[in-house]
């Protein structure tokens, strides 16, 4: 699957994220005074090479979906930079962004909300092609048919409405729409979380095959560990808006260094009853509110190995090579 050979062409990674932050103001009272901030994403940095897949995992509320939207500039970041194909996106106006958008697309989690219920599938797939004038006239229809076939659906389906399809089929249509503009990067925002397990595998295989065929780069956001493991080259673990560990998929799953990663892996149900482990470190309690994140290491309130220092001093993401961890007392 996808190689790294393309990275030199633009003299850098396809996507570079630097200190990305998104703080939502909390307003309350009669005059809507600013009474606090929800730090949904709080200083995330990483690089993503062309043709590779970076999986992002974390509990609900860890800011992973927000991060995906920030990268695509669907929401404006509070701080930090997003460099895509060597160009800084954060300062751009919507008008400047529009031509760039052909190269970066998104597949959403909920296939029932991601398609316009009043438009025929063929129109929804053809519209972006027409808007960006990639093709004209009958060629658009041909491309729509081709897109449907690429994602494993029949070309006849272009005249149908979204409600005539099952969840898995809709997700395929969502993928076809993301492919319509021949993008380089696709942010997959939990693309299989809303689907039946049997269909999850089909969609994952489809995404993987498409990556091989079209040389796509994925930012794959998920909370299901299985899916991420299967599709990702690298994995980033998020907790309360911060990246706590990032590294090569096999190494990170094989020997996690952050206690949170270890706990996430331990809470993943084993594939077979024979693999059943003793319950080592099941996480207690809920993720703290991002409105008042704990001081120091954000995980220290739930961490089984927390020391005094963890409550005061915030750890930085460091490590030799590609495997980095933000912990004062990493495992191993």
């Amino acid at each position: 699957m996808g190689g790294h050979h393309d990275s030199e062409r633009n003299g850098g990674p396809l996507l570079k994220v630097d200190g990305l932050k998104k703080h939502y103001p909390v307003r309350s009272g009669l005059f809507g005074r600013n009474t606090g901030q929800v730090k949904a994403v709080d200083g995330v940095s990483f690089r993503l090479e062309q043709g590779r897949t970076l999986g992002i995992i974390g509990e609900s509320g860890s800011g992973k979906s927000t991060m995906g939207r920030l990268i695509l500039q669907l929401e404006k970041p509070t701080e930090g930079g997003v460099t895509f194909q060597g160009r800084e996106l954060t300062g751009m106006t919507e008008r400047q962004l529009r031509p760039m958008r052909t190269d970066m697309q998104i597949v959403f989690q909920d296939p029932y909300s991601s398609l316009n219920p009043r438009k025929r599938v063929g129109d929804q797939l053809g519209e972006p092609i027409r808007v960006h004038r990639l093709l004209e006239g009958a060629a658009v229809e041909k491309r729509v048919q081709e897109l449907l076939e690429i994602v494993g659906l029949s070309g006849h389906y272009r005249n149908r409405f979204p409600h005539e399809f099952s969840g898995g089929q809709r997700q395929r249509i969502g993928i076809a729409r993301a492919l319509a503009l021949n993008p380089k990067l696709i942010v997959c925002d939990e693309p299989v979380s809303a689907l039946d397990v049997s269909i999850q595998a089909q969609i994952l295989n489809l995404l993987k095959d498409l990556q091989g065929e079209l040389g796509l780069t994925y930012l794959f956001i998920a909370h299901g560990l299985g899916a991420v493991d299967y599709i990702s080259d690298e994995i980033g673990v998020m907790y309360l808006g911060k990246l706590v560990e990032i590294g090569d998929s096999a190494r990170l799953f094989g020997s996690p260094r952050h206690p949170y990663t270890a706990a996430l892996l331990a809470s993943n149900p084993p594939g077979s009853p024979h693999d059943r482990r003793r319950e080592e470190s099941v996480l207690q309690g809920d993720i703290p509110s991002p409105l008042h994140p704990p001081a120091g290491c954000r995980f220290h309130t739930r961490c089984p190995y927390a020391q005094k220092r963890c409550g005061t001093e915030e750890p930085v993401l460091t490590g030799e090579g590609s495997h980095k961890v933000a912990c004062h007392y990493p495992l191993h």
């Binding site: 939207r69 695509l72 669907l74 919507e94 962004l97 529009r98 031509p99 958008r101 052909t102 970066m104 697309q105 998104i106 959403f108 989690q109 909920d110 909300s113 991601s114 398609l115 316009n116 219920p117 009043r118 438009k119 025929r120 929804q124 519209e127 972006p128 808007v131 960006h132 076939e149 690429i150 494993g152 659906l153 029949s154 006849h156 389906y157 005249n159 149908r160 409405f161 409600h163 005539e164 099952s166 898995g168 089929q169 395929r172 969502g174 729409r177 319509a180 503009l181 269909i199 089909q202 295989n205 489809l206 095959d209 498409l210 091989g212 065929e213």
Partner: protein
């Protein structure tokens, strides 16, 4: 690619093995029209309304008499005397006046609603989509308009502008938009958070394209129903204005002012041909319009039965 084979999700095998139905080749409007006529009440409403519209359009050809010609007053209806629905206090033919009145009443209803739906849709869509101070401004303006005593303001406007048909349409149209604006704003607020709108932004669609081609079609259904009721209300408001002397001025007939002219006790008890026909016309117009609205709402929902 491993699963290039078409059909994987189970249920598609059934739907695609059947030959593509000819319906799939039709344009969207044809199918909409077919579904509309299959909706029985809507079809009936449309036919009734079309008849009314034709009647209004061809009034001079249909009316048996000149609606303003004066003759013997209070003649009861008769098949032989020529006056099918009798005559009024000035001896004018009721049937002819009824036919001419449909021009006034229908244009007041349709005209006023067309104006206020257009204003309300624009204000609501812009307020809901852009939010912030634009939204606050637009919503305070609708609050102000909604707090006006409706009939009083219309009376003032009509008396300042002069009680002509055009001014009545304008006054009703300029005052009716707040409820539409609120409906649209609420719909836009919820639809703009949908992922298909986010996808539209990601696909690089312009804001007007997103707002008018993707969001609005998904919020128009309740407005359509609101508009049909609005036509009925406008027809009745015109009648009230006529009653207060600010409506369409006599001798021009509207269903409203025909009713008003028939409100003396002796007429109500002894001459039903003066008030039953215009009442019936108002009821028929309102019901046919409401049926059409219901039908349109069902038909425009793509999830409805086909």
């Amino acid at each position: 690619m491993s699963d290039k084979t078409v059909l994987t999700d189970g249920e598609n095998s059934r739907s695609s093995s059947s030959p593509a139905a000819p319906a799939e080749l039709d344009g969207g409007w044809k199918q909409l029209a077919r579904r509309f006529f299959r909706h029985r009440l809507a079809g009936a409403g449309l036919i009734l309304f079309a008849l009314l519209a034709l009647m209004a359009l061809f009034a001079p050809l249909i009316a048996p008499f000149d609606p303003y010609a004066i003759g013997r007053s209070y003649q009861p209806p008769s098949w032989t005397g020529g006056h099918l629905l009798g005559t009024d206090q000035s001896g004018r033919d009721v049937l002819s006046r009824l036919i001419y009145a449909s021009r006034v009443s229908l244009s007041v209803g349709v005209g006023a609603v067309a104006i206020y739906v257009a204003i309300g849709t624009l204000v609501g869509a812009v307020a809901g989509y852009f939010g912030g101070w634009i939204d606050s401004l637009a919503m305070r303006a609708t609050d102000v308009f909604m707090s006006f005593p409706y009939l009083m303001v219309i009376l003032v406007m009509v008396s300042v502008l002069g009680p002509s048909l055009g001014n009545i349409i304008l006054a009703l149209g300029l005052l009716g938009w707040p409820s539409v604006a609120r409906l649209i704003r609420g719909g836009v607020l919820s639809v703009k958070e949908k992922e298909y709108v986010k996808a539209g932004i990601a696909l690089g669609y312009s804001t007007p394209r997103l707002l008018f081609l993707h969001i609005l079609p998904n919020v128009l259904a309740p407005v359509l129903v609101n508009a049909t009721f609005g036509i009925a209300v406008a027809i009745i408001t015109e009648a009230s204005l006529s009653f207060l002397g600010m409506g369409v001025q006599p001798p021009t007939a509207s269903w409203g002012n025909m009713l008003i002219e028939a409100q003396s006790f002796s007429t109500l008890s002894g001459r039903p041909w003066l008030w039953v026909p215009p009442s019936c016309m108002i009821i028929i117009a309102v019901i046919s319009i409401n049926f059409m609205g219901d039908g349109l709402r069902d038909v425009m929902d793509p999830k409805g039965r086909r």
